[in-house]
């Protein structure tokens, strides 16, 4: 029995059809036909009820109670292949958040003093200065937990030489994703130096890995496309031999097609992406978004080098998409097949990571039977990358594939990671109190269940397995680790985390509060608790908390907590504690998230307030923010001719020039 999935997109509606093709290998029993199936919450809440034949006992539906929520029992007669349909709404994504708050670039902020390496002495910089530094010399993180600043407090990310810092595919991905995300904010601020620096560096980075040109290279090898300008700017004139000091080291960064698993494997890999095939969509998601940002910058004319990432490396990027999400069943491609036209190229499995029935991906690679996914937000980053790359390369089918996975994944996140169904609200669109199988009520029962040092069920999950859920991370137990791994990275596809839907906003806010409460509880009781490291917000993860908090529509609270982080009255000061010997009242980087990007994101997101769940548009690259005072409409034109975007509330943005963004604010009226 197979269940081919048919996807149709109309406007922002994503319709998924589930078909069953039945066969009876041992012969069809007399008077028997069809099959029983279960509808998951993300399916029956999305109109599947109206299309499926649900089984009842009297007036009651037959259901199973599972860790994923209520499973409704349906029947398929076998008279037709269609069993049921679901209909979801695509919320819209952007290439970048606009400069709504009209930052000028001359705002000053206190930043951790890097790359000086002295953590106890913050510097005051302008946003322009910081953004240029973030583009030129990205920093992995600033660990200020040690007094006085120890060696390696600040971890510089040097693309080359790769001596001792040849990052694996995940960490490198976070790095290129973060630098690429700087291009549009820098452009909007008029910081041309930062724009050029980010473009030059991303071109070099992508060229190194996607060309495969470093394998077996020696001093006589030419630079791969896109690499030369950055290398020469750094003073490197040629490839280095393995023991040399100049240029690139050979045999680092290449792609390998494993013929047994039919997978494109990045080397050097990280986190078992090579020997267990784990997490490719997480890793490549960052790559894809970086490639899309570079492609857009080149179409906008911001890259003066003449490089063209689509012409130079477009087919290779297509292969990466195909590795994580091949829409073909029974693919027969062989190594060397031209991949310029997606999904051609060497064969890969049908949708290696995405599970169309569960509505989300499984990050597990080769493990059998028990599979899981931790960071739903990094999966959303991957689907965002596919959408953008498909659009920018003119491949609508690829774009729609990404939109389908993005849309189902967002609802799976609301259902299975956050469990918004516990938290129904009368005013909610998606989780109405009156609708069936909403377990929560108006009031604070759910919030109360998440208070500090709760030892029972906390109502959300950090990891979703195919048989259970758990609040555990793969890298530690700080409260912000357990929550923030499902928030990061913050990019133009992150706005599903911000919603005017009452239940979604309340649930996501409650999980943020849980992280805050438990961090404070640990900090206030340090020494008395038997925890291994009772730190506040976890080392270096403050930016994750700040960036997410900005999406909750708590503008007044936000201004007090993180809007003034640069003035020494930031979140950590607000809760009354600082780490011994550490400066905590300054902005800090974290891999994949630079200081200047966090600043730009937080201030503009606070002003934007919340994404309006009620309003959609006739373009995938448009959405509306709703605040108490002003509403902001934003639309990107990712085509080569002007367009007009129509919003479902009859607002219109006319004549948006090619490869550009328009936005406007209107007084809030409701």
């Amino acid at each position: 029995m197979t269940s081919p999935i048919t996807v149709r997109l109309w406007g922002t509606r994503v319709t998924t059809e589930f078909h069953y093709n039945l066969s009876y290998p041992l012969g069809q029993p007399d008077s028997a036909a069809g099959a029983l199936f279960g509808l998951f919450p993300h399916q029956w809440r999305a109109y599947a009820n109206h299309t499926a034949q649900l089984l009842k006992s009297g007036d009651s539906e037959l259901v199973y109670t599972t860790v994923m929520g209520t499973l409704k029992l349906g029947a398929f007669s076998g008279s037709d292949t269609l069993a049921f349909k679901t209909t979801h709404t695509f919320p819209g994504i952007l290439m970048a958040i606009p400069n709504i708050v009209k930052l000028a670039g001359y705002e000053s902020l206190k930043v951790a003093d890097y790359p000086g390496g002295v953590g106890a002495k913050p510097k005051t910089k302008t946003l322009h200065e910081q953004m240029l530094q973030d583009a030129e010399k990205p920093i992995w993180s600033a660990d200020l937990s040690a007094a006085g600043g120890a060696k390696d407090d600040f971890i510089p990310i040097q693309p080359v030489h790769q001596d001792n810092t040849a990052l694996g595919s995940y960490d490198w991905g976070k790095y290129v994703g973060g630098v690429a995300d700087l291009i549009q904010p820098a452009h909007h601020l008029g910081n041309t130096d930062a724009v050029e620096s980010a473009i030059s560096q991303i071109s070099a980075q992508l060229g190194q890995w996607l060309s495969g040109g470093l394998l077996g290279a020696d001093a006589s090898t030419g630079w791969p496309k896109g690499v030369e300008a950055w290398q020469k700017k750094e003073g490197n004139t040629q490839f280095a031999d393995p023991k040399g000091k100049e240029g690139l080291y050979p045999n680092q960064q290449f792609l390998y097609y494993d013929q047994q698993w039919c997978s494109i494997i990045p080397y050097p890999a990280g986190y078992y992406a090579e020997n267990r095939l784990n997490d490719h969509h997480f890793h490549y998601g960052y790559w894809l978004r970086a490639a899309a940002q570079l492609a857009l910058a080149q179409k906008m004319g911001l890259d003066t080098s003449g490089n063209d990432v689509i012409a130079d490396y477009g087919a290779t990027v297509n292969l990466i998409v195909k590795d994580i999400a091949n829409p073909l069943r029974g693919d027969t491609g062989t190594p060397g097949d031209n991949a310029a036209s997606f999904p051609k190229g060497p064969k890969t499995p049908f949708l290696r990571y995405f599970d169309g029935y569960f509505g989300h991906a499984w990050a597990s690679g080769t493990p059998e039977n028990i599979v899981n996914q931790e960071s739903q937000s990094e999966a959303m980053s991957a689907w965002t990358g596919i959408i953008l790359w498909g659009q920018l390369t003119g491949n609508q089918k690829m774009r729609d594939l990404g939109m389908w996975m993005y849309t189902l994944s967002r609802f799976a996140f609301y259902e299975y990671w956050m469990d918004c169904g516990q938290n129904g609200k009368d005013a909610s669109i998606l989780f109405k109190t009156q609708s069936p199988n909403i377990q929560g009520t108006e009031g604070d029962a759910y919030r109360a269940s998440l208070k500090a040092h709760a030892t029972g069920s906390v109502g959300f999950a950090a990891q979703v397995y195919n048989s259970y859920l758990q609040v555990v991370s793969d890298f530690g137990f700080e409260p912000v680790y357990l929550t923030g791994i499902n928030w990061l990275p913050f990019h133009g596809g992150s706005f599903y985390l911000s919603s005017t839907d009452a239940a979604v906003n309340k649930t996501l806010g409650a999980v943020y509060d849980w992280a805050y409460d438990n961090s404070k509880y640990q900090w206030d009781n340090k020494g008395a608790l038997n925890y291994f490291q009772p730190t506040l917000w976890g080392v270096t993860w403050e930016p994750v908390a700040y960036n997410f908090a900005a999406m909750l529509g708590r503008s007044k609270e936000g201004a007090e907590l993180w809007g003034h982080a640069d003035a020494g009255t930031g979140l950590e000061a607000a809760v009354g504690s600082t780490r011994p010997g550490a400066n905590v009242s300054s902005w800090k980087p974290l891999g994949g998230q630079s200081v200047s990007y966090s600043y730009f994101w937080i201030y503009n997101m606070v002003e934007a307030d919340l994404r309006d769940e009620c309003v959609t548009a006739d373009s995938p690259f448009a959405l509306k923010f709703e605040s108490g005072q002003d509403d902001y409409y934003v639309a990107w034109n990712l085509t080569n001719s002007p367009i007009t975007v129509n919003f479902s509330d009859r607002h219109q943005i006319k004549s948006i020039p090619a490869w550009s963004m328009s936005w406007g604010g209107v007084p809030h009226h409701r």
Binding site: N164, L167, K225, G226, Q260, Y267, P268
Partner: protein
């Protein structure tokens, strides 16, 4: 002799590692069957080695390591990726474990978080499946 070899290998299926060795040997034997008379003499050596009941130390398959990786164009101006030799699963599986990893691969990778925590550099090579990482490959036969 070949039948005897397979009969022996059937007994050696209790351990996944022996499964892997069995498969490598099977392909090794198949390959030799198509080679020259000189290769046939090698087959006798192999068969005798197995027939003595030695479960294999993993030494002899590596003795023929050194297959280069093949470069393939993705179809665009500058992008290339690599594979092992062989265009089908059987051939590729026969080459499993014999591909020479690029010099220095994985030797320079340091997890920033690890380094930041004061740990020594992570010099563990991350070769992965293309050189036959033990325990994670099952060969489709």
């Amino acid at each position: 002799m070949v039948k005897g070899l397979y009969a022996y290998q059937t007994k050696a299926t209790r351990s996944p590692y022996l499964w892997k060795q069995r498969d490598e040997r099977r392909h090794f034997v198949k390959k030799r069957l198509f080679l020259t008379i000189l290769a046939v003499s090698s087959l006798w050596v192999v068969g005798s080695f197995e027939a003595k009941g030695d479960t294999g130390s993993g030494q002899w398959p590596m003795a023929v390591a050194g297959l280069p990786m093949l470069q393939h164009s993705s179809g665009d101006l500058a992008g290339y990726y690599y594979t092992a030799e062989g265009g089908d699963a059987e051939t590729w599986a026969a080459n499993l474990g014999k591909v020479t990893p690029p010099p220095g691969l994985g030797s320079r990778y340091i997890c920033p978080a690890s380094e930041q925590a004061g740990n020594p550099p992570n010099d563990k090579p991350n070769y992965g499946p293309f050189v036959g990482d033990k325990g994670h490959h099952r060969i489709p036969l």
